[in-house]
C-alpha cells in the first residue's frame, strides 16, 4: 500500500472525492485536460482464474486517449508515460500518488485524440536469456537480469533475503524451459513464494501474498454489486515435477486439508525439495477470500495488499488484491481469486471408480499396482515390438486380473505411390497380449491412429491362470506407418485377486551429475546435486542417491591433481549396481565452465566471462564450443597431449598421433565445431586437427597443410582464429605472425598480419602489437581484431594502447586508433597486456575489453581496464563499466594457492571492510598478499577471498616479518594503484 498522509486518508474516507491528474508523455507534461473523459485506465494483476498464483509475471497496462499534446505524429510509440493522481484534501490542496511508468506500444489517431496502449517494464524481460549463469542467490539472478534487461531492481539484497528461500543458493537445472529472462523471473518468483510485478517507480519488485490487512473497507465505501465467496482459499500441499525421474514430488503441511499448488517443472528446486517445503510452509499461512469489489479511488492499494471488507454482505472477508483496474474519475475495481478447498479434496471420478470395485469385490482385492514403460519404444512398420513387460505371481487357483491401459504414441504415416500419385496410408496399431511368451487370444484391439500424437486406451482381464510366476507382455505392431512411445507413456493400472506383483530393480543409473565436477586441489569433493535413480520393473524410478556408496566420499579432500573416477555403488538388497563419473582436480588456475560464453573467442591467455571477470587459462587454451574447452598440456612428460572438457565431463587424454617431428608446439586456437591446430614454425606450415563426436579425435588432414607465402622467416606464434567453417570447407584462416621489430627504446614489438586461405595471401599490417590480440571472425569471413600495442611515444614503455582493426569479407580494411579513449595502464615493467573482443549476437555489436597483466613475482594478475561497445565499423558507441576483475596470483610458493576472485567493480571507487583477523601477510616486493580475507560489498554481502594482493604505498623491509593491521581497504580506478591500503 502506498504510504500517504493522514490528511489523505481522511479525504479518502469522505463520500465525495475530487481528483487531479498530472504526468508526462516523453518530455511533454499533461493534466486531466489532455485526457478524453473515461479513457484513462490502468490495469494489472498477479493471479487469475481459480487459483492464487505464485511466480506470475504479468504486465501492467495503461490505456488513454490524449488530446491537445504537441507530439509529432509517428513519434508516440516508445515514449514513456509517467502519471500521478492527486486527491483534494480538506484544505483544498492536492496530495499526489504516483501510478507508475509505462512505455507506449501502440498509438492510434482518432477523431477525439490519440489513443495509446502502454505497458510497464515487465515487457523488457521478454528478452532471450543469453547468459549461462546458473548458480546464485535469487538476488544475484534478479540483479543480473535487471542489468541485462535495463530495468531497475526495486529491492535491496536484504529485501530479497527476507523472502522465502531468499538466502538460498539456487541452481538452474540443465533441463529446463527457460528461454527468456521473464521465464527465469517467473521461476525465481515462484521459488521465493512470491509474484513479480513492476512497482509505481517502474522498478521490478517481488511481493508475497499476505492476509494481514492493510485497510478496512466498509459497506459505505464500496459500490453496490460487490461479491465475496463464502469460502476461504488456502493451500496445504505443493507438488513439483521431478524432471530427472519424471515423477511428481509432493510436500505438505499438517493438516493437509487445503488445496494443492502445482509448481510445474520448476528448474530451481530440482534436487532440493526442501525449497518446496519452505514455499508451502509460508504459502499455507495465507488464507484469503476470493472477491470482486469496486470503490472510489485513490489508487493507493498495491497488488498483494490485503483488504478487510466489513459490514453488509462482506461480513469481515479478508481478501487479497490479485488484480485491479483503475479508471480516472471512475471505479477502482479490485479482485482476488481462489477456489474452494472443500471441493478440491473431494474424490476424483477415478478414485470413486476404484473404490466402487473395492466395495464390490471386498477383501478379495489384494493387489493393485501401476506399471509404466521405463524406456522409450520405437515400433516400425510390420514389426511386433514389446512395449511393456512386467512380472506377477498367481497365488490362488481362483484369480482375476483387470487392467486399464493408455498408450500415448507419436506416429507418422508411410507414403504409397500409384501412378505417380502419392498418398498417406492409414496408420493402424495392432495390440496383442502375451503371458509367458504365448499370445492370449482373449482380446487383440486395433486402433486407427492420427498422424502425430494420439492416445489409445483399452482394458482387458485375465483369469484362471495357473498358480506360480508369470510374465506379462504387451506388444505393438504397426501398419501404414511407424510410431514412437516416450518413457512413461505406456501407463497401466491393474488390480485383481489371487495374484501378487513382484516389484524389483531393473537398472540403476546416474540421472544427474553433481553441480560441480571440477575441484581445486586440496578442496573437498562435493556431490551436491548428484542424483542416482533406480528404475523398477513397473517403470517407476526412485531417487536412491542417499543409499549409494560413493568413493572418494562426499567431503573427502582432493589431495592429488588429475582425473578421478568417482565410484558410485547401489545395492538393492541382493545386487550391486556400479556406476562412475569423472571429477577433475586442478592445481593452480580455477575455472568454471559456466562462466564461459558460447561464441566467445579467446586468444592468448585471457578469458573473460559474461560479467567481465578475467582469468588466466594457462592450461585451458581454447574454447571450442558452448561449455567445451580444450585442456592442452604443453609441458612435462604429457606434452602434446590434450583432453576435452565438456559440461564438466573430462575426456581421456589424447596424443597428437601425427606429430611426425614437425610439431613444435600446440597452438592456442579453437573454433566452434571442435578444431585445434598444430603447426610448425620452421616451415611456416599449419595443420588442423578435427575433433568429431564426443571426444573422439578425428583425422589430421594432410590436405589442410598450408604454407604462408611470405618471404622472410620471421614467424612465431599464431594467435589467430578461424572462420566458423574452418579450412575443411576452404574458407578463411586468419593468422597473426610474429614479425618482431626493435623500437627505439630497445624493446621488441611484433607486427601482425593475416592470411586469407582463399587467396593464400599474407598481409602485413603496420600495426605493432605488444601481446595477444582479441579477435572475432564472423560467419561471412570478416575478421575483427582488437590489437594492444605499445605506443611509440617512448620513453614511457609502460603505456599500452589499443587499436582496432577489421578486415571485412569484401576486402575493406578498417583501422581505428582508439588511443584517446582506450588506453590502459600496464602495471610493472615486466607486464604485458592483451585484449578481448567478442561479438554480442543479440545486440549485433562488438564488445571490447582491454586487459592489463601484472607480474606479481608469484604469478600474474589480470585486470580488465576498459570496456567499450563498438559498432561493426569500429566506432565506439559507449563505454561500458568493468563489473569485476579476477586477480589470480597462482603462487607456487603458497600451500593454499587457490582461486582468487576479487569481485569488485573496478570502474568506480568502492569502500569495503576487510575482516583482517584471519590472514597472514606475505611480502612480495611492495605488495602484501593476504591468504584469506573477507570482502563486504556496499550491501553487506560477504565474499570470502584468498590471496589478495595489495599495493602498499611505501616499501617495507623485506627481511623482517611484521604484523600489519589494515583498518580499511578501498579500491579505485586509478591508473597507478588498483588497491590501496592504510597500514
Amino acid at each position: 500500500m502506498y504510504s500517504v498522509s493522514a490528511d489523505y486518508l481522511t479525504a479518502l474516507a469522505q463520500p465525495v472525492h475530487k481528483y487531479r491528474l498530472s504526468g508526462t508523455v516523453g518530455t511533454e507534461a499533461f493534466t486531466q485536460s489532455n485526457i478524453i473523459s473515461g479513457s484513462l485506465s490502468i490495469s494489472n494483476k498477479v493471479s487469475e482464474g481459480s487459483e492464487i498464483k505464485l511466480g506470475s509475471v504479468y504486465t501492467g497496462e495503461l490505456r488513454a486517449t490524449f488530446t491537445g499534446l504537441s507530439i509529432a505524429r509517428g513519434s508516440w510509440v516508445g515514449k514513456k508515460i509517467t502519471l500521478s493522481e492527486g486527491l483534494q484534501l480538506a484544505d483544498e490542496s492536492f496530495e499526489d500518488v504516483p501510478l507508475g511508468a509505462f512505455t507506449i506500444a501502440e498509438a492510434t489517431h482518432k477523431a477525439d485524440g490519440v489513443a495509446v496502449v502502454a505497458y510497464d517494464a515487465m515487457t523488457a524481460f521478454d528478452k532471450s536469456r543469453n547468459d549461462l549463469t546458473d548458480t546464485g542467490t535469487a538476488y544475484d539472478f534478479l540483479s543480473l537480469m535487471c542489468q541485462k534487461c535495463g530495468v531497475t531492481l526495486g529491492m535491496t539484497s536484504a529485501d530479497v533475503a527476507a523472502l522465502t528461500n531468499g538466502t538460498e543458493t539456487l541452481s538452474i537445472y540443465s533441463e529446463n524451459d527457460i528461454e527468456t529472462w521473464r521465464d527465469l523471473l517467473s521461476w525465481i518468483a515462484q521459488t521465493l513464494c512470491s509474484v513479480a510485478t513492476i512497482n509505481r517507480d517502474g522498478e521490478l519488485e517481488l511481493r508475497q501474498y499476505s492476509d494481514s490487512s492493510n485497510a478496512t473497507i466498509d459497506e459505505t465505501h464500496r459500490f453496490t454489486g460487490c461479491s465475496f465467496s463464502d469460502f476461504t482459499t488456502y493451500y496445504t500441499g505443493m507438488s513439483v515435477v521431478n524432471i530427472a525421474l519424471r515423477q511428481t514430488e509432493y510436500k505438505s503441511v499438517t493438516p493437509d486439508d487445503g488445496l494443492t499448488y502445482n509448481l510445474g517443472s520448476n528448474p530451481l528446486v530440482q534436487g532440493d525439495y526442501e525449497l518446496v517445503q519452505n514455499i508451502i510452509d509460508d504459502f499455507s499461512t495465507v488464507q484469503l477470500v476470493p472477491f470482486s469489489a469496486q470503490m472510489l479511488g485513490g489508487a493507493i492499494y498495491d497488488l498483494c495488499d490485503c483488504l478487510t471488507f466489513s459490514g453488509g454482505i462482506a461480513a469481515g472477508a479478508v481478501c487479497g488484491i490479485m488484480g485491479f483496474t483503475w479508471k480516472y474519475n471512475g471505479a477502482y475495481s479490485v479482485s482476488g481469486f481462489g477456489s474452494n478447498p472443500a471441493l478440491a479434496t473431494a474424490k476424483s471420478k477415478a478414485e470413486k471408480d476404484i473404490e466402487a470395485i473395492y466395495n464390490t469385490i471386498g477383501e478379495e482385492i489384494n493387489q493393485m499396482s501401476v506399471v509404466q514403460n521405463s524406456s522409450a519404444v520405437t515400433c516400425g512398420e510390420d514389426t511386433e515390438t514389446s512395449i511393456l513387460t512386467y512380472n506377477f505371481e498367481v497365488t490362488q487357483e481362483e484369480n482375476t486380473t483387470m487392467v486399464d491401459v493408455s498408450v500415448v504414441m507419436t506416429s507418422s504415416a508411410s507414403e504409397t505411390e500409384v501412378d505417380d500419385v502419392y498418398t498417406l496410408s492409414d496408420i493402424v496399431a495392432h495390440l496383442s497380449f502375451y503371458v509367458d511368451g504365448s499370445e492370449v487370444n482373449v482380446y487383440a484391439p486395433e486402433f486407427i491412429v492420427d498422424e502425430g500424437k494420439d492416445t489409445m486406451t483399452f482394458n482387458y482381464s485375465l483369469s484362471g491362470l495357473s498358480v506360480g510366476a508369470h510374465e506379462f507382455d504387451i506388444r505393438l505392431e504397426m501398419s501404414g506407418g511407424s510410431g514412437s512411445i516416450a518413457v512413461g507413456d505406456v501407463h497401466e493400472m491393474l488390480w485383481g485377486y489371487g495374484i501378487t506383483f513382484e516389484v524389483y530393480v531393473k537398472s540403476v543409473e546416474i540421472k544427474r551429475l553433481p553441480n560441480n565436477t571440477v575441484y581445486m586441489l586440496n578442496s573437498n569433493f562435493d556431490y551436491t546435486g548428484l542424483m542416482v535413480g533406480a528404475a523398477y520393473n513397473n517403470g517407476l524410478v526412485d531417487d536412491v542417491t542417499a543409499d549409494c556408496d560413493i568413493t572418494p566420499g562426499d567431503g573427502t579432500q582432493a589431495t592429488q591433481p588429475g582425473v578421478y573416477e568417482v565410484s558410485v555403488v547401489y545395492n538393492d538388497g541382493s545386487n550391486d549396481y556400479e556406476m562412475s563419473f569423472d571429477a577433475l582436480v586442478v592445481n593452480g588456475c580455477f575455472f568454471n565452465e559456466n562462466t564461459f560464453k558460447a561464441g566467445m573467442m579467446q586468444t592468448g591467455i585471457c578469458v573473460m566471462d559474461d560479467e567481465g571477470n578475467v582469468s588466466s587459462v594457462t592450461s585451458l587454451q581454447s574454447i571450442t564450443n558452448d561449455h567445451e574447452y580444450i585442456n592442452l598440456i604443453t609441458s612435462g612428460s604429457d606434452a602434446k597431449k590434450f583432453r576435452f572438457i565438456r559440461n564438466g565431463l573430462v575426456s581421456q587424454q589424447y596424443t597428437l598421433t601425427k606429430a611426425d617431428g614437425t610439431l613444435t608446439s600446440l597452438g592456442y586456437c579453437g573454433i566452434p565445431g571442435g578444431f585445434v591446430y598444430q603447426y610448425k614454425v620452421e616451415s611456416k606450415k599449419y595443420r588442423l586437427v578435427k575433433v568429431v563426436g564426443d571426444y573422439e579425435l578425428g583425422v589430421v588432414s594432410e590436405e589442410v597443410l598450408m604454407e604462408i607465402n611470405r618471404t622472410d622467416t620471421d614467424y612465431g606464434f599464431i594467435y589467430g582464429t578461424f572462420s566458423q567453417y574452418g579450412v575443411y570447407t576452404g574458407h578463411i584462416i586468419y593468422g597473426f605472425g610474429n614479425h618482431t621489430v626493435t623500437v627505439p627504446n630497445g624493446d621488441s614489438v611484433r607486427t601482425c598480419g593475416f592470411i586469407d586461405t582463399r587467396t593464400g595471401e599474407y598481409r602485413d599490417t603496420d600495426f605493432p602489437i605488444s601481446t595477444w590480440p582479441g579477435m572475432v571472425c564472423m560467419d561471412d569471413g570478416s575478421l575483427y581484431a582488437l590489437l594492444p600495442y605499445k605506443q611509440d611515444t617512448y620513453p614511457d614503455p609502460t603505456q599500452i594502447l589499443v587499436g582496432f582493426y577489421a578486415w571485412l569479407a569484401d576486402g575493406t580494411e578498417i583501422k581505428i586508433d582508439m588511443t584517446s579513449d582506450f588506453n590502459l595502464m600496464c602495471h610493472g615493467n615486466t607486464g604485458g597486456a592483451s585484449a578481448i573482443l567478442r561479438y554480442d549476437e543479440e545486440n549485433d555489436c562488438l564488445v571490447a575489453y582491454a586487459i592489463s597483466r601484472e607480474a606479481t613475482g608469484q604469478g600474474y594478475n589480470f585486470k580488465a581496464m576498459k570496456g567499450f561497445v563498438l559498432d561493426l565499423r569500429g566506432n565506439i558507441e559507449r563505454e561500458i563499466p568493468i563489473p569485476a576483475y579476477i586477480d589470480i596470483p597462482y603462487a607456487s610458493g603458497l600451500t593454499d594457492a587457490t582461486k582468487v576472485r576479487l569481485a569488485l567493480n573496478g570502474s568506480t571507487a568502492q569502500t569495503g571492510v576487510v575482516d583482517g583477523i584471519n590472514y597472514y601477510p606475505y611480502w612480495s616486493g611492495q605488495r602484501l598478499l593476504f591468504t584469506e580475507a573477507n570482502y563486504f560489498n556496499s550491501e553487506g554481502k560477504n565474499s570470502p577471498m584468498k590471496n589478495i594482493m595489495v599495493n602498499i604505498p611505501c616499501v617495507p623491509s623485506q627481511t623482517k616479518e611484521r604484523i600489519v593491521v589494515i583498518d580499511s581497504l578501498y579500491w579505485e580506478d586509478s591508473p597507478n594503484s588498483i588497491v590501496r591500503a592504510t597500514v
Partner: protein, 115 residues
C-alpha cells in the same frame, strides 16, 4: 436589462426576451452497498444558459452565425467564459413579415453551454 451584459466575441447582444442560467456540478455518482452516495466531483459550476431574443432578420442571421462556430468567448453578467452556442431555433412572429424594411420579426432561441 441584460442587454449590456451578454457579450459574444465582443458583440453585445440585443436584450433577450427571456433568459435563464443554471450551474451544474459534473460528477460521477455511485450507490454504495449501504445505499449512500459515493461521488467523484469532476467539476463545479459548469454554466448553461438559454436566451430567447425577438429580433429582426438581420440579428437573426447574426445570431445564427454565432452558433456555427465551435466556441465563442462569452461574457454574461461580467463573467467571462468559453461557451458553445448551440440549439439555434428561429420562429417567425405572426404577421411580422409585412414590416417594412425587414424580412420579418423573429423569435430566436439559443443555448449557451460552457465548455
Amino acid at each position: 436589462m441584460l442587454g449590456k451584459y451578454i457579450v459574444v466575441n465582443s458583440v453585445t447582444l440585443p436584450n433577450p426576451k427571456s433568459f435563464s442560467l443554471s450551474e451544474e456540478t459534473v460528477e460521477n455518482v455511485y450507490e454504495s452497498e449501504a445505499g449512500t452516495d459515493l461521488a467523484q466531483v469532476v467539476r463545479f459550476g459548469k454554466v448553461s444558459a438559454k436566451a430567447t431574443f425577438q429580433v429582426t432578420s438581420l440579428w437573426r442571421d447574426r445570431l445564427k452565425a454565432m452558433t456555427q462556430t465551435a466556441t465563442q468567448p462569452v461574457t454574461i453578467d461580467g463573467q467571462s467564459m468559453t461557451m458553445r452556442l448551440r440549439d439555434y431555433s428561429a420562429k417567425l412572429v405572426e404577421n411580422s413579415e409585412n414590416i417594412e424594411g425587414t424580412d420579418g420579426l423573429w423569435t430566436v432561441s439559443i443555448n449557451f453551454i460552457e465548455v
